[in-house]
Point group: C2
Chain length 416, copies 2
């Protein structure tokens, strides 16, 4: 079964909003065995949407539409669906009740006609009740094709995908099992990695595909397999990975979890061995802490972070000796190591990460070169640091430093 | 002039990678007066790409393609372009030189044939030299249509857009001026805002369009205008805004800057008045610090943050009195206010933000309800806090709390 995702909204086409909905939907569809053939973003324009519907219908079996359902958008999607299905809009009482409830409990502002109008749906649509918002989801069928319209607000859309769309699709179609497994490989460039594993890659069975996803300082290596025998697909992929791992040895640091976050490998590992982590961040400015705490369960292992952005705070709050800074510059391995040691003691954690550097775009107080970053890892047994040159683009420097810090910490955890 | 963006890569269609390139390209094209009509993401598949090229050519004038240029992707985009233009691949010496230089200076691993092959380009293409990577950009013309192929790695693509694509497009076409101005409105729902400004909206001239972008706790109100007389477009938009502002009064907190970040309004304001900021974060876990430090110039006003995730660290590092926590619970207005006061003194800043709450998904140590968040703002004149219920989805709670904290701080800054 093939699907197309159509996202509707001028905000996407002027670049004001990044389309994160499509990636989420694609990932969820994949999990139940539906492949996404194409993603199409179109304007809030009836004719453009009608053409997109028609084109998608000729290409795929399932069309998932998000956006264009807000009260001030003139409900463009609903009206266009009604026209496409040669249908009329009718009031759905259960949707109106839902709107009135949300208004009473959460909004507490005047309920206007435009809000009530959100209860109008095409008569041929099956309503997918949206408990988190006023715009309902809609499910329509046309021959053997399915059209699903969802609100564009991410958390409303996500809830409907889980509660309504996936169960209904699984129910309707006999779907294959799709498995993606992604290995995180650090310290090898894309082409050198490809060279190392060429023979293995050439011998992969037809139903397993390989993809290289180069990223800052790492390559993600993805195996994708599809088949109706779930057990067999899983075993075959595992067999291939068992053959692959000896070829890449130390460069392999772990599997990417489903949400795509290397910090979860660290989280799981620390939680499993009952150890804790603290962070002292200068040039990464809180991003390391933010990456860990964005996931549930962080309090099991994450003690906290000190973002010591100003030099003063490295001395007064972290307790880095003033002399160490004066003798070595605030951007130095000595300061990074002292930050890591001090923050580990302050938070009484087992592991600590520290970063100090200049993310640019200009030289700061310290005269440190743009792009230079020192990262230190402290444990109960000691501390060490590495120096990196990470280019001259601020966001790149920060993200690269965060990834590098994760890699160094992971290796340290596996050593212990 | 209309453009279509085609992004190529299976990783987009299985949801492993979010397409951030399209939003960047769309925003940049808009700045020079090119409107994006559609964004299409397709698979690493020759026939699929050929169809996408043909469809796009029938819809728009300019086709911007990203992705499919990596050495292990079998250079699918290049081969497909060659076929589409009935052309052959030839070796470009300057590209090969660039590859060899990058290898020598940055990669320091073996230069393989697949890397050298990246210097093969369609003979009809004008090469857009990529100083940041080995895959060159390509510019091709077909009648009055332009095809531009760019690498998918964001920073390589971005550099080529600025150095090559925008200047060449501006040179080739007589383009109108496009202006987007986005107002940040807090504390009014989408429909109530629409109701308040209905008369004003109805009287907008034809060449100015209005869009509502509801978000967690706020609505972004975007005016988009287009015309060949730049001065006139700017003046007309300003005139409309002058009429609008008295209608929304206090709910208007500022303009969204080009990068879409409310924290930049705070940054500019603090820098302008020479004041500083410190943060104590519990449930927001470093995200407030990260938002500020992701922008250049943060060291002008941002002193630092303490992410006191564990209760212990609120006492030992921040200095919140143990009694305040025991008497009121760690998630309370008293603790939030104490955190804000203590962190302000620790970092000797003018302003401080503190957050404490439970982002979920389960009750933590404190038995605080999921979704409850206290946010405090401290200044030299005192401290105050507010309590919020922010739903039960972790990422939503965190982002809503961050936005709310920015809103509270902004109002406080404007008061001072």
């Amino acid at each position: 079964m093939l699907a197309e995702i159509i996202t509707i909204g001028d905000e996407l086409l002027i670049g004001q909003v990044i389309d994160t909905n499509s990636a989420f939907i694609a990932k969820e569809l994949n999990k139940i065995g539906v492949s996404v053939y194409q993603i199409t973003s179109v304007q809030d324009d009836k004719n453009h949407i009608l053409t997109a519907f028609k084109d998608a219908e000729s290409r795929v079996d399932i069309i998932i539409i998000t956006g264009g359902l807000g009260p001030t958008k003139d409900d463009i999607t609903k009206k266009t669906i009604a026209e496409y299905f040669d249908d009329a809009l009718v009031l759905d009482k259960s949707v109106l009740e839902n709107i009135e409830n949300i208004w009473k409990q959460q909004v507490r502002q005047t309920l206007l006609q435009v809000n009530k109008d959100q209860a109008l749906v095409p008569s041929k649509a099956k309503v997918l009740m949206n408990p988190n918002g006023t715009a309902p989801g809609m499910w329509l069928e046309k021959g053997d094709k399915v059209f699903v319209s969802l609100p564009g607000v991410p958390y409303e859309m996500k809830a409907l995908i889980h509660s309504e769309v996936l169960p209904k699709l699984t129910n309707k179609y006999h779907l294959p099992f799709i498995l993606h497994k992604t290995l995180l490989v650090y310290g090898l460039g894309e082409s050198n990695l490809a060279d190392k594993i060429e023979t293995w890659e050439d011998a992969l069975p037809n139903f397993i595909k390989l993809a290289y996803l180069p990223d800052l300082g790492r390559v993600r290596l993805r195996l994708s397999a599809k088949g109706f025998d779930k057990q067999n697909v899983k075993e075959e992929v595992q067999k291939q990975i068992d053959t692959l791992l000896p070829l890449i040895e130390d460069n392999f640091v772990g599997y990417e979890d489903e949400e795509g976050a290397v910090e979860l490998i660290i989280a799981n590992q620390l939680t499993a061995i009952g150890k804790t982590l603290a962070v002292a961040e200068s040039c990464t400015g809180g991003k390391i802490a933010e990456r860990f705490t964005s996931h549930a369960g962080a309090s099991n292992y994450f003690k906290g972070s000190i973002v010591s952005y100003a030099t003063d705070s490295k001395i007064k709050i972290l307790g880095v000796p003033k002399g160490v800074i004066e003798q070595n510059s605030v951007v130095s391995s000595q300061v990074a190591e002292s930050m890591a040691e001090k923050v580990r003691i302050l938070f009484q954690s087992d592991f600590a990460i520290a970063t100090t550097g200049n993310a640019g775009p200009t030289k700061g107080d310290s005269d440190a070169e743009v792009g230079i970053v020192f990262i230190a890892i402290a444990t109960k047994n000691g501390v060490y640091s590495e120096k990196f040159m990470m280019g001259n683009q601020r966001s790149k420097v920060i993200n690269k430093a965060v990834n590098k810090a994760f890699e160094m910490l992971l290796k340290e955890i596996f050593k212990n």
